[in-house]
Symmetry: C2
Subunit: 210 residues, 2 copies
Amino acid sequence: MKIGIIGSGNVGGALGTGWSRAGHEVIFSSRNPQSKEMKELVAKAGPRATAAATADAARAADVVLLATPWGAAEQAVRSAGDLKGKVLIDAVNPLLPDLSGLTLGTTTSAGEQVAQWAPGAKVVKAFNTVGANIMADSRFANGRVVLFYCGDDADAKKTVHQLVADLGFEAIDAGPLKQARLLEPFALLWISLAFQGGFGREIGFEFLRR
Amino acid sequence: MKIGIIGSGNVGGALGTGWSRAGHEVIFSSRNPQSKEMKELVAKAGPRATAAATADAARAADVVLLATPWGAAEQAVRSAGDLKGKVLIDAVNPLLPDLSGLTLGTTTSAGEQVAQWAPGAKVVKAFNTVGANIMADSRFANGRVVLFYCGDDADAKKTVHQLVADLGFEAIDAGPLKQARLLEPFALLWISLAFQGGFGREIGFEFLRR
């Protein structure tokens, strides 16, 4: 699969590197694709990874990951050009700068907002509920980390399901896109435990059944 | 400890029964404390359980659990009388009748609203993130279910921590009361997985660390 990464920071970098190592073709992008950081990221991600301008990465890709800061997300989506028919994975959380809350309430979600900015795109909310360190390495000795996704397009969700599983998570379909109203607060719970709660970032949730 | 249960349905019944069996004195209440259902509940909960009118249960208790439907919660709190200085555990989720969403967004929470209705009470949000069946029996063969709580009063939280642990959960402090804005959507995630997601109610989350 050919994956365009819009926003190649901690999250985009970790996901892109993992997908590259799993056999996918990855195109990282940012506002400065020629930067030293981007070159280092591409080198680390291996021979299937390249870097490009945002519009080029999006045009060439089957799947586009949005992983910018929330404040940059609208502009990044517009910079990507026409995304109609593409799988657009929204990994963005609309966090306040101090991580104390969300700039959008549960009356809507970033996932739904992104869908409005990208008419025709098959938006799937995913990869927003754990930190980049867990995305980079999902292994825990005592259990398997669950990663939820949600969206309105069944085929797009099958694709994302596989991409989640590729990184070693248990992939769970959380329902339609409006469930982002639940997954975004879930992300803030992780953040608050990690940073304000004193648990640190090496934490996750396992989905238990009996 | 002497615990008053306001709202003795599935949640209040399960918690009260568990606490009773763990050695606490439990006073169940509802709008009809003489009902057949209440008598059966009291019998099931064992010799440390009784039933009373709401105001009487609250007056006699050190700790009050609020576990009514959301639509009945305001009236139930007012019926309880003066709760100043008491530990008031809010286990209520402000759910729409069809469980499709919350009647309050993340701009506030049921926990905070309850605190406004009960001036001076030490409100702790807890026991709202799993179903009554898990509260009744928290054991999973392959892991330990986490149960979060949050509130603004440190001593009240210590008390609730112990009450959570009494039922076999891993008790985790999720921070100040405004974190109910995260724990309430977390509850709806559980609900949606159980009912719309097809997983059924025998599910939970384990908190993993490495």
